[in-house]
C-alpha cells in the first residue's frame, strides 16, 4: 500500500537546479490554495466548530467546550440515539454489503478473465449501472421494489408467493438497499479485479499446472496470493464507500422505516443542516472518522498478516 513512499518526498537525483527558484511554487500554487481552503483549513476549523453550538444563521455561537463530544457518549443526551443509531446502521450495512461487493465482483472477474468472444461487451454491460449514477438506479429500484405495483412483487404474486413490503419493513428494507448497491457498483470492483487477474504472470499458473495443481488449488495458491494487494485495495475502498452510505436510503426509504436505515452520514446532515447544529454534526464526523480509521488499520493488518511465507 505504501511501499512506494520512499523517504518522504521521494528521490530527486539531480543536484543541479535547472529551474528558477520560484518555478516550483508556481506549479504547486493552485493545488496548495485548494488544499488549504478546502481540506486543511476545514479540518482545523471543523474542530473549532465542534466546540460550539454552531448555527450559521445566528450571530451567537455559544462555546460549549467538549460538550458535543461528551453528549455523543452520554446515553441520556439527545444526540446519543440518532448518532449511535446511525453508526449501528452504517456498520450493519458495511457488514452486509462488503462481502457481496467483494465476492461477487471477484467471481465475475474470474468469468470475464476467460478468453471468449464478446467479453469486452459483457465487461461493459456489467459496468453500465455505475455510469448511470445512484439517482437513476435509485428510481429504477424504487419502482422494481414498490410494495404494491413493483415488478418484484408482481413476480412473487404471479407465482403465488405473498408480496413483500420491501421498503417499509425490516430486514427487507436493508435487503433492498444492499441489492441495489450491489447492482449499481458491482462493475467497478469487477473491473479492478479483472485488471489484477490479467496482471498475474502466466508462468505461475504453468508452474502450478506442472506440479499437478487443479483449478481450485491454482486459485488458492496462485490467484489469491497474487491478488493480495488488489484485495486490500478493493476491501479498503469498499468499506469506506459503504460507510459513506447515503444516496440509496435517501432515495428509497428516506431513512425509514422508523430510523432503521438512517445512516451515520444522514444523522450528521440531519443534525447539521436540518437541525442547524453544525457543531455537534462536526463532532459526529470526527468520531465516525476515527471509527473508520480504526477499521481501516485493522483491515490492513489482518490482510497483511496472512501473507504466505
Amino acid at each position: 500500500m505504501s511501499g512506494r513512499i520512499t523517504g518522504l518526498a521521494g528521490p530527486v537525483r539531480s543536484p543541479l537546479r535547472h529551474h528558477h527558484p520560484v518555478t516550483p511554487y508556481l506549479f504547486v500554487a493552485p493545488y496548495v490554495v485548494l488544499l488549504l481552503t478546502f481540506l486543511v483549513g476545514p479540518a482545523v476549523f471543523g474542530v473549532w466548530m465542534s466546540l460550539h453550538n454552531w448555527d450559521f444563521m445566528l450571530p451567537g455561537k455559544p462555546w460549549v467546550g467538549l460538550q458535543n463530544y461528551r453528549d455523543l457518549f452520554d446515553s441520556s443526551s439527545v444526540l446519543f440515539h440518532p448518532f449511535w443509531n446511525g453508526m449501528k446502521n452504517t456498520f450493519l450495512f458495511v457488514l452486509m454489503s462488503v462481502p457481496f461487493l467483494v465476492a461477487i465482483p471477484l467471481g465475475l472477474a474470474l468469468l470475464l478473465n476467460r478468453k471468449f468472444r464478446g467479453r469486452t461487451f459483457f465487461r461493459a454491460v456489467v459496468f453500465t449501472p455505475f455510469v448511470l449514477g445512484v439517482a437513476v438506479v435509485g428510481l429504477v429500484f424504487g419502482y422494481l421494489f414498490d410494495p404494491e405495483v413493483g415488478l418484484v412483487n408482481g413476480i412473487l404474486d404471479g407465482v403465488g408467493l405473498p408480496k413483500v413490503s420491501w421498503l417499509s419493513t425490516q430486514p427487507q428494507a436493508w435487503i433492498t438497499i444492499t441489492v441495489m448497491t450491489i447492482w449499481w457498483t458491482i462493475g467497478f470492483n469487477a473491473v479492478i479485479f479483472l485488471a489484477g487477474l490479467q496482471g498475474l504472470p502466466e508462468q505461475l499458473y504453468e508452474a502450478a499446472e506442472l506440479d499437478g495443481a487443479g483449478r481450485w488449488s491454482q486459485f488458492r495458491h496462485v490467484t489469491v496470493p497474487g491478488l493480495r494487494n488488489v484485495f486490500l485495495f478493493v476491501v479498503t475502498t469498499t468499506i469506506l464507500a459503504s460507510a459513506n452510505l447515503f444516496g440509496q436510503p435517501y432515495i428509497l426509504t428516506k431513512g425509514g422505516p422508523g430510523d432503521s436505515t438512517t445512516t451515520a452520514i444522514m444523522a450528521m446532515t440531519n443534525e447539521g443542516l436540518r437541525g442547524f447544529r453544525m457543531g455537534s454534526a462536526a463532532a459526529m464526523s470526527y468520531v465516525l472518522a476515527l471509527a473508520l480509521a480504526i477499521i481501516s488499520v485493522a483491515n490492513f493488518l489482518i490482510m497483511r498478516e496472512r501473507k504466505p511465507s
Partner: protein, 445 residues
C-alpha cells in the same frame, strides 16, 4: 401538513410521514433576542396599492408536494391573470427539505420572494433571520386582528413583530363512516361529541366484530393524541418555551386512553401509520381523527359514505390541534424594490382571495372570506370552521420541532408496550427539556 403525505404513508418513508403527522408537534424553545430586524422597504403601501412597475418574476416556495400543490398553483395562476405584470414561479419542495434549503438560499442571496410555511415555523425562521417582519404589509393593507381569528393572528408574531399573513387554519376534526355506523347499529347522523358517546359507538363496533377506530403507534402521537392533551388542559411545550409537557398528567392520560383502545380491541395491534385512513376509506372502521385536508381524499374515495364533525371532547375542554399555513417574505440581501412590492401585492391578494384554497380542504383564515357565500358551499370544510375557537397553536418560540423526534419515539415505545407509558413519556420530557434549554441558550445568544 399536507394530506397526501399521510395518504402515501404506507408506500414510502415513514420518516416523511411522521414529519407529516407531526407538523402539529412543531414548536419549541425559548425566546431571546434575534439579530437586528431588517427594515422592510416602505414601497407600495405593503402591496395594498397594487403594482404598476416593470414586469417582474417572483419566486414562490411552498411545501405542498401533495394534492394541495395543484390547488395552490391554480390560485397563483388566478393571481397572474389579474396581474399581468407579475409572473409567479411556484416551487414545491417537501417541507423537511424546504427548511433545509431556505436558510441557505437566504444566505447566498437567492432567497425566494415569498414562502409559505406553518405558523409553527415562524418563530424559528424569524429568530434565525430567514424571514423578515412584514408590519408594512399589515399596515398598508390595513389588516388587523379583527380580520382574522384571534389565535391564528397571534401565532404570526415573534417578539412583538409580525412575520406572516395567515392563509388558512386547519384544525383536527372527526370523520365518521356512515355505512359502518349504520352497520353496527349506531346513528349515522349523530357523530359522537363526547368521550362516552365515542366509546359507546366503539363498543357497538366491537360487538359486531369491527375495529371501530385504528390507533397506530407510529402516528397517534401527532394531532390525535395532542388534541386530547390540549383538551386535558395540557401542552406540548409551555408558553415560555422552557418546558415540554410530554411527561405531565394530561399527556400521560391521553396516551393511556389511546393505548387502551388497542388493549380493549377497539383497534387492531400494529396498525400501520396510515391505518386510520386505510381502514376508514375501506369502510372497515367507523372513525378517523384528522385534519381538513382529508376532505378531498374522502370525496374521491370510491364507495365511501362519510361525514365530518368537530372532534369529540375526550378531555375536559373544547380544544383541538390546529395548524395554519401563512405567507412569509424571506429576507433578501439585495432587495429589488419592484419585486418587494410585487411580493406584497401577491401576499395581500392571496389572503383576500383565499376561498379557492378551501378546495384543498383548508379553512380560510380571513373572516371576510369565511363569511362569503362562496365559502358556504364547502359544507365539509365548514364543519372544521366550527372549531376555530378550539384551535390550539404552538407557542411562538424558536427551535420549533426540535423535540419532535423524542416525542415520536416515546409514543412508539409506549403504545407498543415496549416501555411503561409514564416512563417513556418522562424520559422524553427529560430529553425534550434538555433540547429546549440548549435552544434557549442558542437563540438567546
Amino acid at each position: 401538513m399536507t394530506t397526501p403525505d399521510l395518504v402515501r404513508l404506507g408506500r414510502r418513508t415513514l420518516l416523511g410521514a411522521v414529519a407529516g403527522a407531526g407538523a402539529g408537534l412543531a414548536l419549541t424553545a425559548c425566546g431571546g433576542t434575534s439579530g437586528p430586524p431588517q427594515a422592510g422597504p416602505a414601497t407600495g403601501k405593503g402591496g395594498a396599492e397594487g403594482y404598476d412597475g416593470p414586469n417582474v418574476e417572483l419566486q414562490y416556495w411552498n411545501g405542498l408536494t401533495g394534492g394541495d400543490g395543484p390547488v395552490m398553483k391554480k390560485l397563483a395562476q388566478k393571481f397572474m391573470d389579474a396581474h399581468p405584470k407579475i409572473k409567479v414561479t411556484t416551487t414545491s419542495i417537501a417541507w423537511a427539505d424546504l427548511f433545509q434549503k431556505l436558510p441557505a438560499a437566504v444566505q447566498s442571496g437567492r432567497a425566494p420572494d415569498v414562502c409559505l410555511m406553518h405558523t409553527a415555523d415562524i418563530a424559528t425562521n424569524a429568530a434565525r433571520r430567514v424571514v423578515q417582519p412584514i408590519d408594512d404589509v399589515v399596515a398598508g393593507a390595513k389588516l388587523s386582528a379583527d380580520d382574522y381569528a384571534e389565535l391564528v393572528w397571534k401565532a404570526t408574531f415573534y417578539q412583538d413583530k409580525q412575520y406572516a399573513i395567515p392563509l388558512d387554519i386547519h384544525p383536527a376534526g372527526l370523520y365518521y363512516n356512515k355505512k359502518v355506523l349504520t352497520q353496527v347499529g349506531a346513528d349515522p347522523t349523530k357523530p359522537p361529541t363526547t368521550k362516552d358517546e365515542f366509546l359507546a359507538v366503539l363498543d357497538k363496533c366491537k360487538s359486531k366484530g369491527v375495529k371501530g377506530y385504528w390507533v397506530s403507534a407510529l402516528s397517534v402521537g401527532g394531532l390525535v393524541a395532542q388534541s386530547m392533551i390540549f383538551q386535558n388542559g395540557g401542552y406540548m411545550i409551555s408558553d415560555d418555551g422552557a418546558k415540554t409537557g410530554f411527561g405531565d398528567q394530561p399527556a400521560i392520560d391521553s396516551i393511556t386512553f389511546f393505548k387502551s383502545l388497542i388493549d380493549k380491541d377497539y383497534s387492531p395491534k400494529n396498525a400501520a401509520g396510515d391505518g386510520d385512513w386505510v381502514s376508514f376509506s375501506n369502510s372497515k372502521a367507523a372513525f378517523m381523527i384528522n385534519g381538513p385536508w382529508m376532505v378531498t381524499p374522502c370525496k374521491q374515495a370510491k364507495g365511501l359514505d362519510w361525514g365530518c364533525a368537530p372532534i369529540p371532547v375526550l378531555g375536559s375542554q373544547e380544544q383541538t390541534w390546529a395548524g395554519s399555513h401563512c405567507f412569509t417574505l424571506p429576507r433578501q440581501t439585495n432587495q429589488d424594490k419592484n419585486k418587494a412590492t410585487a411580493a406584497r401585492v401577491f401576499v395581500n391578494w392571496m389572503s383576500q382571495n383565499s376561498v379557492g384554497w378551501a378546495e384543498a380542504g383548508m379553512v380560510p383564515a380571513r373572516k371576510s372570506v369565511r363569511e362569503s357565500a362562496e365559502f358556504a358551499q364547502y359544507t365539509e370544510v365548514k364543519q372544521f370552521e366550527k372549531m376555530i375557537d378550539w384551535a390550539h397553536f404552538p407557542p411562538n418560540v424558536p427551535g420549533a420541532g426540535d423535540t419532535d423526534p423524542e416525542w415520536t419515539k416515546a409514543i412508539s415505545l409506549a403504545v407498543t408496550g415496549k416501555k411503561p407509558i409514564d416512563q417513556a413519556l418522562k424520559d422524553a420530557a427529560q430529553k425534550g427539556d434538555q433540547i429546549l434549554a440548549a435552544n434557549q441558550k442558542k437563540y438567546g445568544g
